[in-house]
Symmetry: C2
């Protein structure tokens, strides 16, 4: 976890987190940035993920469950609450009489767009603490890591990247 003791170099030396602790800490910081921005618009992380997934898809409830890794009953509740707020809309599938298609409303689209850009700005501001060359180096290393990780999981990282 991020709670272990750290080796301390000399008193005045620049201290460095262990690689594991550093990544864990960073992940919490970024997660909290999104949580905070979403909360400003009364959105939970999962509501935000729902809207994010719908930005470039019009899935059935069933597909939504796979995309968000939720049980179909959880999806029913999640979509119901989002629909009540006017963020998404449900429509019967023309292709399958049992299925329901879920899509963003204009309001939902503008909301997810706002939160996304605010969150992006937060991350950008965080990255701005580094020099331009450090930033470029970090970005390259992170990409390399994610590409390798995605390959492991046989996930396509590029056609459309979501918060699933």
């Amino acid at each position: 976890m991020a709670s272990q003791s750290i080796d301390r170099p000399g008193p005045a030396a620049t201290r460095e987190l262990s690689p594991v602790d550093g990544l864990a800490q960073l992940s919490f910081v970024i997660h909290r940035l999104l949580e905070r921005r979403a909360a400003e618009h009364d959105l939970s992380i999962i509501q935000m993920r729902l809207l994010g997934v719908l930005r470039d898809r019009r899935p059935t409830m069933n597909e939504l469950g796979r995309l968000l890794a939720l049980d179909k009953s959880s999806v029913s509740g999640l979509v119901e609450r989002a629909e009540r707020r006017g963020l998404v809309a449900r429509a019967p599938s023309p292709a399958d009489g049992r299925a329901v298609l879920v899509s963003l409303t204009d309001h939902g689209r503008s909301l997810v767009s706002d939160v996304s850009s605010q969150f992006g700005a937060d991350v950008f501001a965080l990255l701005n603490r580094l020099s331009a060359s450090d930033r470029r180096a970090l970005s390259r290393l992170v990409s390399r890591l994610l590409v390798a990780h995605a390959a492991d999981l046989e996930i396509d990282l590029f056609p459309s990247i979501d918060i699933d």
Copy 2:
């Protein structure tokens, strides 16, 4: 968010995520690693954070609320459920008749230790996708970023680092 289109370099070139998308993606990947390991022991992220915070502290309920950024009533419920599972113990404070001190039980300590080391191994395995020199460089950059960020927030990153 992590759902924006990405600039695509040449067809065969090595693609790279935007800095913002890369960090966001990485943060989600790592968050999910912890979530999965904790779930294997029937722990939620917040229960895991509770145990993590208690590894080197014996706070009051009130302090716990500040450490975890939760309302005191939320802390009551959280600690109650953890206590029912035998993971933490409550004791009256000798110093203040109103206060309650919360600490890990042996079971709680061994549990948080297990999950932490499993999670650490997961992150290590992820990092292992990079060469040793890339890994070192990434670690250094991440540390630099977090140190700057902690300084902004006037947080002491080193005496004892937790998941708060």
